[in-house]
């Protein structure tokens, strides 16, 4: 089950951009107004740092995913325990994504369709994708969905050029101050930090020397795209209006109006977005099943899919409303990122360094 470096790039890109561009823009604008792009830059740097940390750690243990090397370093029980927060956060994130997707489609497109039908359809897709086809299939799918998403995003920005008002970005910093900008940077950073999923995937890359380069270019591309979309939203709507919108990117696409003819193109973007969501959810299903199998020492991770998939759907259904999603995001940025993105990788890096020194001493 090997993936190429390019597939790694597109997997990370598809998985992160889909959520970041859709949902993470207006929280930043609400706090830092027209300086939200600076917050995104800061967030990007934090995200890149987490990516770097995580990939370096993974490369110290080539061919071994998180559960495997953590158990090797710290013993079966402690190592296994360290993987639990990761599993919990991935399950919760997958349920959150499924629920947000279904909510959005229900709100905008299919408002008479019951919510569970939308969720069930997507869940069926992801089960087939992961269970029947596996990581190779997901990787190849991301290699298609990724460039498609990128092209659609760039096209939507270009088509909006006629609507921009350059003065919307000024005055820079004076209104909000550095404290607010940094405060607003943290939620997007916690979503760029989703790249700790690389702890599992880098082990599957065929040529591990490419892994670091590809991961870093991927996170840089992601941050670039989110930055441009934040800037475009600010240019077209200004900070006052976009802070109040729930889905500013979507409204941006809806306001494309070329020659009074090209209008209402939001349906194409939605169509492409569904590919991205499908890739993301299948990937998380794979991730959770695979890691859980490694954690419990099981050989066949596909059997675990039968457990993971219903759990993800159950989490998605159990979320009562938008405030619960807000709470999950708070959980993500206050506990998950410091723990799973920073603390545990540092701990494992330390353990790796100690064990390498012990081996060198033995020799």
């Amino acid at each position: 089950m090997k993936i190429t470096g390019t597939q790694l790039f597109w997997i990370l890109f598809t998985v992160e951009v889909v959520m970041a561009v859709w949902l993470r823009i207006s929280p930043a604008i609400e706090v830092s107004r027209q300086d939200a792009w600076i917050s995104m830059l800061v967030a990007g740097m934090i995200g890149a740092a987490i990516t770097f940390l995580v990939v370096c750690l993974s490369l110290q243990h080539p061919g071994q995913s998180l559960a495997v090397f953590s158990r090797k370093l710290l013993g079966k029980w402690v190592g296994g325990l360290l993987v639990l927060p990761y599993l919990a956060s991935w399950y919760i994130l997958a349920g959150d994504v499924l629920r947000t997707f279904a909510d959005f489609v229900h709100l905008i497109l299919l408002d008479r369709t019951p919510l569970w039908v939308i969720m069930f359809l997507m869940a069926a897709m992801m089960t087939v994708m992961t269970g029947a086809i596996g990581m190779n299939g997901i990787a190849r799918f991301c290699e298609i969905a990724g460039p498609l998403t990128l092209i659609t995003l760039i096209l939507s920005f270009l088509l909006n050029i006629g609507n921009v008002n350059l003065s919307n970005l000024f005055p820079v910093i004076a209104d909000t101050g550095w404290k607010n900008i940094l405060k607003a940077a943290y939620p997007p950073a916690s979503f760029f930090g989703e790249s700790f999923l690389l702890l599992v995937i880098v082990s599957m890359v065929q040529r591990s020397d490419k892994a670091l380069l590809r991961s870093m270019t991927s996170i840089i591309t992601i941050v670039g795209i989110v930055l441009v979309s934040t800037i475009m939203v600010l240019f077209v709507f200004g900070p006052n209006v976009s802070a109040k919108m729930r889905f500013p990117y979507f409204t941006l696409v809806r306001s494309i109006n070329i020659l009074d003819f090209i209008q209402n193109v939001d349906i194409f973007v939605l169509f492409i977005w569904v590919f991205g969501v499908c890739a993301k959810i299948s990937f998380y299903l794979f991730l959770t099943s695979f890691e859980m199998a490694n954690c419990l020492g099981l050989k066949n991770w596909r059997k675990v899919v039968w457990f993971s998939a219903p759990l993800i759907v159950a989490i998605a259904v159990a979320i009562p409303n938008e405030t619960a999603i807000e709470m999950l995001q708070k959980l993500w940025r206050l506990i998950v990122i410091p723990l799973c993105g920073i603390a545990i990788p540092m701990l494992l890096l330390l353990a790796t360094a100690i064990s390498k020194r012990r081996e060198a001493r033995r020799l």
Partner: protein, 383 residues
């Protein structure tokens, strides 16, 4: 065999769901709204009128009177927009479809009451879109404007949009209006239309809706004033300027394209801000009834000078009137101060309307005659 059965089940399920069974609506079950009108009704309610397109009657070339109107107007009253919408739906056999709406029109009574409460629905309702253009009716109701059958277009919602382009302004879309309304440094300037006679409308300038007071109507600018104001805020693409250019009172008209406006904030000696407005444009002379010959250098410079002077006087008068009579910042001077001197703006923005009326403004207008037109001296002059 097993695989085919499994695949068959999955495909079957996918097909039943993707035909959109719950959300299936045929086009003939939809009423396409092309314009929405809002008027104030007695006892604090509002009256919503919707102009609905009748597709079968559009674009038919022959005898239009025998076919009938290509649209119909339905009205209903309610506590807010969606409440009235619910009542309106009860009068129609097709469900209302908002996503092709071209215009949102406020009647004068509604504008006087304040349209702040009307803003939310257009953004929040997922079925709505914010691509419409916004307009205000002067001395009339939106319902009457919607009922007019325009001369060229199938319905007045579209005509309003097109009239704005044909007089040289950029159409004022709802998202600009929202952005201006939420901006503390300026007051939105909405195009105003007037109903003439029984079945005609005309663009008569612009309405100032005060965003510090729930977007109540503050006053109107007439057509020429509104074009000059749009020029200052960058919403006008062409404009025609006429003035006296020689001693005998001969007139010349220039049609300006490439209009530019530069508003600069400078600090006076006492540390207070002052505004410098620099307008420029170039174009060709399209009518000349004076003694001057625009194709000759010195004469051309005199024409440019006179036209620039008269435009400058008109702009100064406009700014003066807006500053002292209406006391509301439609030119976005506050916005410019905000961008250039954000610290100072923090203290100024509290009573901006008062500070705005005391703001010293200097105006400079530079017009270029790029082209004298197809003839040289005026036709009436003997060679």
């Amino acid at each position: 065999m097993k695989r085919i059965i499994k695949l068959g089940i999955v495909l079957f399920f996918v097909i039943t769901c993707t035909t959109g069974c719950w959300n299936l609506t045929e086009p003939d079950e939809l009423a396409f709204i092309t314009a929405a009108g809002m008027d104030a009704a007695p006892d604090g309610r509002i009256e919503i009128s919707s102009q609905i397109a009748v597709p079968s009657a559009i674009d038919v070339q022959q005898n239009q009177s025998s076919i009938g109107k290509s649209f119909l107007v339905v009205s209903a009253m309610g506590k807010n927009v969606m409440d009235a919408g619910r009542t309106m739906q009860g009068k129609l056999s097709r469900s209302l479809f908002y996503e092709h709406r071209q215009a949102i029109i406020f009647g004068q009574s509604m504008a006087q009451r304040g349209v702040g409460d009307m803003l939310d629905m257009f953004v929040r309702n997922p079925k709505s879109e914010i691509r419409s253009t916004v307009a205000v009716v002067k001395d009339g109701t939106a319902k009457d404007l919607l009922n007019i059958k325009p001369k060229f277009d199938p319905f007045s919602g579209l005509a309003i949009l097109r009239v704005q382009s044909s007089v040289g302004s950029t159409p004022y879309f709802y998202r600009h209006f929202l952005s201006d309304a939420l901006n503390e440094g300026m007051t939105p300037l909405v195009p105003a239309f007037h109903i003439v006679g029984k079945n005609e409308f005309a663009c008569v300038g612009a309405a100032m809706l005060d965003n510090t007071a729930d977007l109540k109507l503050k006053g109107f600018l007439n057509a020429e004033q509104s074009f000059l104001a749009y020029w200052m805020i960058g919403r006008q693409s062409t404009i025609s300027v006429t003035s006296v250019v020689d001693r005998d009172g001969g007139l010349a008209t220039i049609r300006l394209g490439s209009l530019k406006s530069r508003i600069r904030v400078i600090l006076t000696d006492s540390g207070k801000p002052a505004i410098e407005v620099r307008l420029s444009g170039g174009g060709s002379v399209i009518e000349n009834n004076s003694n001057l010959d625009p194709s000759k250098g010195p004469d051309r410079r005199i024409i440019e000078q006179k036209l620039s002077d008269s435009t400058r006087q008109k702009v100064e008068q406009l700014i003066d009137q807006v500053q002292h009579q209406y006391k509301t910042d439609v030119f976005g001077f506050g916005d410019h101060i905000h961008r250039r001197y954000p610290q100072r703006w923090k203290t100024l923005k509290r009573d901006w309307d008062q500070s705005f009326s005391k703001l010293p403004v200097s105006v400079q207008v530079t017009l270029h005659v790029k082209d004298p037109g197809q003839s040289n001296s005026a036709m009436k002059r003997f060679i």
